[in-house]
């Protein structure tokens, strides 16, 4: 993402100001290097010392004899002049000494001030930086307070919305049920069970077992795939297997010691099950559920069944499953993932008896609408990546182009080659 133009302008301004600052600091550094007088006038100390030595005029002559008298008389004649000259010299040297001393002190002071000034200017940056960081931290803290409040509110609203949607679904279902009951009462129509029975009979094809053998896989393969679901029914006996087919899952349950019973509309499949000693009822799955006492089942399982049911029968099945399960019981429904193109084209359309393509959201909605809780969907049977669209090699392509192409390939893969099946898992 490109930088905001205002921020780029601020960065440029900062660069400019920092250059000006560095230039001024360098200039000040240059001014701060004051030469001490001893460097500029190296002869000065000697001359001052000499001046301090020679300022006093010589005293009266220290001689003996006649020359002494002559010289003394002459000295006395000029003594007042010498005296004044000495006083003048003394005063002048004292002033000069004082001036030099003061000048040295001032020079030292000036050097100290300049040095402190340089240090001060050098310290401006850390101070500004520290202030800037505190400001940034305060701004971030304030932003995070706002963000937190917003985020909490969003999470809260999301949770409320979920509750409201579940409630709305429930109300819609109740409303439809009420309409159906009213219509039935008004028209003296046959009970819904008749429709359910008709739907289930769609699977009563003599060749269906052979069809399953071909397209759903061999018994051993199917057992292996279904074994994944066993853990979901731990401690939830008895389990009803709706549309149990050749009884692979019932066998697995039996081997794990979980009591179970199957219902199957296909007489040939029922015969296969019974040959294997499995407890299977031949008949309509909705009727079978209706016959179970309320709360008597721990689990309801149906693999590759719900897509064979017309919507009304499917809803009746879910309603009866909910009634027959005890609280905490579990329903597990495996079906074709019609959200995946390959799942729809290669799996769903292959079977003539498929009646209702079920999007995962639709099945979840129907389950929740019947009062199931903890409704979740897990994807199954992923497509081998080797059979999917392959990413383009990044060598020789601009990185952005390669990223876009690969991102598009990933999106297409998700749409075309998404998992071919899914399983809905929910609690009573």
């Amino acid at each position: 993402m490109d930088e905001h133009p205002d921020l780029a302008a601020l960065r440029a301004r900062l660069d400019e100001e920092e250059r000006a600052y560095a230039s001024l600091l360098a200039a000040l550094d240059g001014l701060a290097s004051l030469p001490v007088p001893a460097e500029r006038l190296p002869e000065l100390p000697d001359k001052v010392a000499q001046l301090n030595r020679v300022w006093e005029l010589p005293g009266p002559p220290d001689e003996r004899g006649i020359s002494r008298i002559v010289h003394h008389k002459r000295w006395e004649l000029f003594a007042p002049v010498f005296q004044r000259q000495t006083e003048f010299n003394s005063t002048l040297v004292q002033i000069l000494n004082g001036y030099l001393e003061q000048s040295a002190a001032l020079h030292a002071r000036l050097a100290q001030v300049t040095s402190t000034l340089v240090q001060y200017l050098q310290h401006v940056l850390p101070v500004m930086d520290a202030r800037d960081r505190v400001s940034s931290a305060l701004a971030t803290t304030r932003a995070e307070l706002v963000l937190e409040a917003f985020d909490r509110r969003q999470e809260s609203l999301g949770r409320r919305l979920e509750g409201l949607l579940a409630l709305r679904d429930r109300v819609e279902v109740l409303s439809e049920e009420m309409s159906a009951i009213r219509s039935t009462l008004a028209a003296d129509a046959p009970p819904p069970a008749a429709a359910a029975g008709a739907a289930a009979r769609a699977a009563e094809d003599a060749h269906y077992v052979a069809f399953e053998n071909r397209f759903r896989g061999e018994r051993a393969d199917l057992r292996e795939r279904l074994a994944d679901y066993l853990a979901l029914f731990d401690g939830l006996a008895p389990v009803a297997d709706l549309g149990c087919g050749r009884g692979e899952f019932l066998e697995l349950l039996r081997e794990k010691g979980i009591a179970s019973r199957g219902v199957e509309g296909n007489a040939q499949a029922v015969a296969v099950c019974r040959d294997r000693g499995l407890d299977v009822v031949e008949g309509d799955l909705v009727d079978f559920l209706r016959a179970q006492p309320a709360g008597s089942l721990g689990g309801v399982f149906a693999a590759q069944v719900v897509e064979h049911l017309p919507p009304a029968v499917l809803q009746a099945m879910l309603a009866e499953a909910h009634r027959a399960l005890r609280p905490g019981g579990r329903v597990v429904l495996e079906t074709v993932n019609t959200r995946s193109v390959i799942g729809f084209l290669e799996v769903y359309l292959r079977d003539l008896t498929h009646r209702t393509p079920l999007h995962p959201d639709t099945l979840s909605f129907l389950a929740a609408a019947q009062g199931f809780t903890e409704v979740r969907v897990e994807m199954r049977s992923p497509v081998d990546p080797a059979g999917q669209l392959q990413p383009v090699p990044t060598d020789g392509l601009p990185p952005r182009a390669a990223a876009v192409l690969n991102e598009n390939a990933a999106r297409l893969n998700a749409l075309l080659y998404g998992p071919q099946e899914y399983v809905l898992i929910a609690r009573r």
């Binding site: 993402m1 900062l14 920092e18 930086d129 940034s136 931290a137 971030t140 803290t141 932003a143 995070e144 963000l147 937190e148 985020d151 909490r152 509110r153 999470e155 809260s156 609203l157 999301g158 949770r159 979920e162 074994a227 994944d228 066993l230 853990a231 731990d234 401690g235 905490g328 809780t373 903890e374 979740r376 897990e378 994807m379 992923p382 081998d384 990546p385 080797a386 999917q388 990413p391 990044t394 990185p399 390669a402 990223a403 690969n406 991102e407 990933a410 999106r411 893969n413 998700a414 080659y417 998404g418 609690r427």
Partner: protein, 433 residues
């Protein structure tokens, strides 16, 4: 018997995942030959089930070369105890058990704690500091950009400069580890959906976190009541786990203080390691809880159940959250404690009749009201406790975990090795080694 290489923190690592790993190992050990690879200087080998090999992680390469494992299982969380997992995860793709959806701050720290990156963060105006840190920051930026195309630089600069910690929660940065794995196991539906949504085609499986109830001795509880001077009519509100900002102990304390003004017997119990005890004490004192609050610090695991039993109610709040399934929450539910918890999306699996949910928009007020409600109704407490226990027994039975892990392991073994998809150069290079 299939052979597994199991990369995980193990005790005494300062993370609950180390305890989790021990539990899972005991469930898998009868089915698989397992070698654990860890990063502990002094691992507590006695806590690892017999028959499981225990090795420092650098030993993996030689063992893998000599006798390749059928699958590597990686326990990944967002604490520093998991830093060592990243490298083998890329080299030898396996089953990634993702405990936290949000990995960003932990992964970012691995780059930003480098000395050169720290120097740059201290002096972001310095071109020399920027140049010295370029390599490490560029690698971090490449990882961020892979997950969030076009935003790498902006996010890294913001992360470098910010003193807050919410930003990484908005950009969880789990894509690369997921893409590099054959399959991913998670503990809740929220994480499963988030991963499936961001990484289409990822093989995501749910495994329940195992949580068997712990035995509690009445005498031990009584001894603790005496130790902490808990009176018969006190109403103790407990909070359990490592005390961090995310645990919102401050909010719980304010709720307790508000409730105590209406119900004087309400007391706060804080069980778990406290990083800054002085700050906590000062905060409790400012709320008038100095004399009534009980702060135990870390308690030995054998004493934990008795401490949980001290609580008449538990407050379990989390914000921000990495969307993890909390072992601390499941533990108190398994022990049948009536619990108030934040109403967070990833905890939707917890049945409505097993807890009191506090709307996160007003956690303090909702927690206060829930405390008062629970204090006034022993029947409600009993009902919640029983439902909580039933939920954990049903949904988090160790047998379920064992089955789910076995299924996830088989699915991961069956999946092909993932291929690099526009990965950052350093990541792709690791995958080639």
């Amino acid at each position: 018997m299939k052979r597994l290489a199991f990369f995980s923190p193990i005790p005494p690592a300062a993370t609950g995942i180390a305890d989790y790993a021990v539990d899972v190992l005991s469930l898998l050990a009868p089915r698989y030959a397992i070698d654990v690879f860890h990063d502990e200087a002094a691992p507590e080998r006695e806590r690892v089930p017999a028959g499981v090999g225990v090795f420092r992680h650098p030993e993996f390469a030689a063992r893998q070369a000599a006798h390749p494992y059928d699958l590597a299982v990686y326990q990944m969380g967002n604490g520093p105890a998991h830093d060592f997992v990243y490298e083998p995860l890329v080299r030898v793709p396996g089953l990634l058990v993702l405990h936290d959806l949000v990995l960003h701050h932990a992964r970012g720290r691995m780059f930003l704690e480098a000395p050169e990156a720290r120097a740059y963060a201290r002096d972001p105006g310095s071109a020399a500091a920027r140049a010295a840190a370029a390599d490490v920051i560029d690698r971090y930026q490449a990882e961020v950009a892979h997950s969030y195309p076009g935003q790498g630089r902006r996010l890294v600069e913001a992360h470098l400069a910010t003193v807050g910690d919410l930003l990484p929660y908005a950009y969880p940065l789990f894509r690369l580890p997921v893409e590099a794995s054959r399959a991913v196991a998670v503990h809740n539906a929220f994480m499963a959906e988030a991963i499936a949504s961001e990484v289409p085609g990822a093989e995501v499986v749910r495994v329940p976190m195992p949580m068997p109830p712990l035995p509690v001795e009445a005498a031990a509880v009584e001894a603790l009541r005496k130790r902490y001077a808990i009176a018969e009519d006190d109403f103790v509100v407990g909070t359990f786990g490592l005390v961090t900002r995310e645990k919102r102990v401050d909010t719980v304390a304010r709720a307790v203080a508000r409730a105590a003004s209406l119900h004087p017997g309400v007391r706060l119990l804080v069980v778990g390691p406290v990083a800054d005890r002085g700050a906590l004490d000062a905060r409790l004192a400012s709320l008038g809880l100095a004399s009534g609050a009980i702060v135990t610090g870390r308690v030995p695991f054998p004493e934990l159940a008795a401490h949980i039993e001290l609580a008449d109610a538990v407050a379990h709040l989390r914000y921000p959250t990495a969307r993890e399934t909390s072992a601390a929450l499941l533990r108190v539910l398994a022990q049948g404690r009536p619990t108030i918890m934040g109403d967070l999306e990833h905890l939707a699996d917890v049945p409505h009749d097993a807890v009191i949910r506090a709307d996160v928009a007003d956690e303090e007020g909702e927690t206060t009201r829930a405390i008062l409600k629970l204090a006034a109704s022993p029947a409600l407490r009993a009902r919640l406790g029983a439902a909580a226990r039933t939920f954990v027994e049903r949904a988090h039975a160790p047998a379920l975990t064992a089955e789910a892990y076995a299924s996830a392991i088989e699915r991961a073994i069956a999946r092909p090795r993932p291929t690099a998809r526009g990965w950052p150069a350093h990541w792709a290079a690791l995958a080639r080694t």
